[in-house]
């Protein structure tokens, strides 16, 4: 466990000591805030609440954010060869994978949290708007946290499979885009309106939680995928010592 904290500290330092982290944060904030404000502007005067628009905006940009964060995790270490130095020290594969995962997750949340302030600023600036429903915000936020657990674990695994960051990014992006795409596809193609497919729609899950309906099914789904992906990542890292 001690090694986990050492590696996590190193991971966060590696992220926040470079300008790339701040550029990523700024781009994600601008894109999400702009999408949110644009949607709210279109829906002014309708009965639509602010919270669903906020989480729609976050969900739209989240796959890209997670892809950017995760693409370098292991691919970069493999490319530079530092993985060899790291894995020939008395450090377990589990500590390495979990530290990288936790570092990526924390960075992801640090990027997302400021976006949540946008509706508050908007309400303060526009007295005509309804107040922000904090319970809806907590419900939606909890689901975004669960989704980030799941997608980041997919990103960790894809980054482990290659030494090329572009390949890692493409694999990660397409793997996590599928459940994000279920909702938009449902609205266009009737085939996707089946109950089985609907169960995998991340958008539906978030909206369910925003509306105050708590369901165990998406929680179990995201946690199971997270555990499966992290377990696979640990096994992949160990596999260099298999035959």
């Amino acid at each position: 466990m001690r090694n986990f904290w050492i590696l996590l500290k190193r991971e966060l330092a590696a992220v926040f000591l470079t300008p790339v982290a701040y550029v990523t944060m700024a781009v994600f904030f601008s894109a999400s805030a702009w999408t949110f404000l644009a949607t709210v502007k279109v829906k002014v005067g309708t009965a639509e609440y602010l919270e669903p628009q906020l989480f729609s905006a976050i969900l739209l940009w989240l796959p890209m954010l997670i892809t950017v964060i995760c693409m370098r995790l292991f691919a970069e270490e493999k490319r530079t060869g530092t993985i060899e130095t790291l894995m020939t020290t008395a450090v377990g594969e589990t500590s390495v994978v979990l530290a990288k995962y936790a570092g990526a997750l924390l960075f992801c949340w640090i990027c997302v949290v400021p976006v949540v302030a946008v509706p508050y600023i908007l309400v303060e600036a526009s007295p005509g708007l309804e107040r922000v429903d904090q319970y809806a915000l907590i419900g939606g936020g909890a689901m975004v946290v669960l989704i980030s657990f799941c997608c980041t674990s997919i990103g960790v695994l894809t980054s482990l499979l290659t030494r090329n960051q572009i390949v890692a990014a493409l694999c990660c992006f397409w793997a996590i885009l599928a459940p994000f795409m279920v909702h938009p596809l449902m609205t266009v193609i009737p085939f996707f309106r089946q109950a089985t497919i609907e169960r995998f729609s991340m958008f539906q899950h978030v909206m369910l939680f925003v509306s105050g309906t708590l369901s165990l099914q998406p929680v179990v789904l995201y946690l199971s995928v997270t555990v499966l992906m992290l377990f696979s990542a640990i096994r992949v890292l160990e596999s260099r010592r298999w035959l």
């Binding site: 190193r10 060869g81 130095t85 020939t88 020290t89 450090v91 010592r241």
Partner: protein, 333 residues
């Protein structure tokens, strides 16, 4: 010497590793004893780096056994990793970190903390002559300094055994000399297994040499003993002024002269030939020149280097190992 000192620090038996259809290691067997500096030599693709990667627990093997400090590299990999300091080829480092910060990070991972960590960092910085660079960004350091940072990292936790993969690659002659002295100074406390292409270096610092070819040990002995393999044969050069055809005829008729080459430049004939040691070819050549009234301005024997042994062993399909291994004459035969 007690029994613990006699037991090998590194023990490898019948180690085999295949990458698809390519056999990188083919039943490799060797031992390294405490305090030895052993050089691993071999042409590209001989299996040097694979051997070191298996010993440092980075790779698995298809078969065989490997132990470091009595711990099995496959069964007790964590124990082995605690006992070794491994410097991979090309010295991969985190270039965004400062030297001191990097050593602090690596020391913490190796279980050092508090005062001990601080004192070890101070020690290795001094030992590797890095004190002045301790606040420098690794990314801005020269290749030589990066090499020293890698070595400082290896030494941090005072491991029993150092495994260094091509530590002098890309260094300038001064840096090589410095690193050589540093490695030599480590010998009493540490056992060192070093892979390198620079044969003169092996001659200077290694107490024993293992020559690998196609995943097998083809020779294992001290540099002196390996040079002894070549002692039956020597290369003689001479410059003689006289009629070229007569010089060539006279020298080639001398007993024991082989592979004679002759080039003429401005009346001087430059001769080169091989001869069996101990039959007095140089004396005969001197007498010949005196008898014929020619002039002699150079007569010498080329000194044998490990490079010759290496070339002779790896260019021919020779299988020889350990004390009592066949000599070069046996190979010629």
């Amino acid at each position: 010497m007690d029994k613990a000192d006699e037991s090998p620090v590194i023990s490898v038996k019948n180690l085999t590793r295949r990458f698809g259809r390519v056999t990188a290691l083919d039943g490799l067997t060797f031992e390294v004893r405490r305090g030895e500096i052993v050089g691993l030599l071999g042409p590209n693709g001989a299996g040097k780096s694979t051997t070191l990667r298996i010993l440092s627990c980075y790779l698995a093997a298809n078969g065989g056994e490997a132990q470091v400090g009595g711990a099995d590299v496959f069964e007790a990999s964590m124990d082995v990793r605690r006992r070794i300091g491994y410097l991979p080829e090309n010295v991969p480092l985190y270039t965004d970190m400062r030297v001191h910060e990097y050593l602090q990070f690596r020391g913490a991972l190796k279980g050092l903390r508090g005062k001990r960590l601080r004192s070890r960092i101070e020690n290795v910085l001094q030992q590797c002559d890095l004190t002045a660079e301790s606040r420098a960004l690794i990314g801005r350091l020269s290749k030589g300094f990066r090499q020293r940072v890698g070595l400082a990292d290896c030494l941090l936790h005072e491991p029993d055994c150092l495994i260094l993969d091509e530590p002098t690659i890309g260094l300038d002659p001064n840096q090589i000399r410095h690193l050589r002295e540093l490695i030599r100074s480590l010998a009493p406390q540490h056992t060192v297994l070093i892979s390198t292409h620079i044969l003169s270096e092996v001659e200077m610092i290694c107490s024993r040499v293992l020559i690998l070819d196609r995943g097998r040990i083809i020779a294992s002995d001290t540099p002196e003993a390996l040079l002894g393999l070549m002692q039956g044969d020597e290369r003689i050069t001479a410059e003689i002024q006289g009629p070229a055809d007569e010089v060539a005829k006279g020298v080639s008729e001398m007993p024991g002269v082989r592979n004679l080459t002759i080039t003429t430049d401005g009346g001087w004939n430059r001769l080169g030939f091989r001869s069996s040691r101990g039959i007095g070819v140089r004396e005969q050549l001197f007498d010949l020149v005196a008898d014929r009234g020619w002039r002699l301005r150079e007569l010498g024997v080329e000194r044998r280097h490990l490079e010759d042994v290496f070339a002779a062993l790896t260019e021919r399909d020779v299988v020889a190992s350990g004390p009592g291994a066949p000599t070069m004459e046996d190979h010629h035969a």
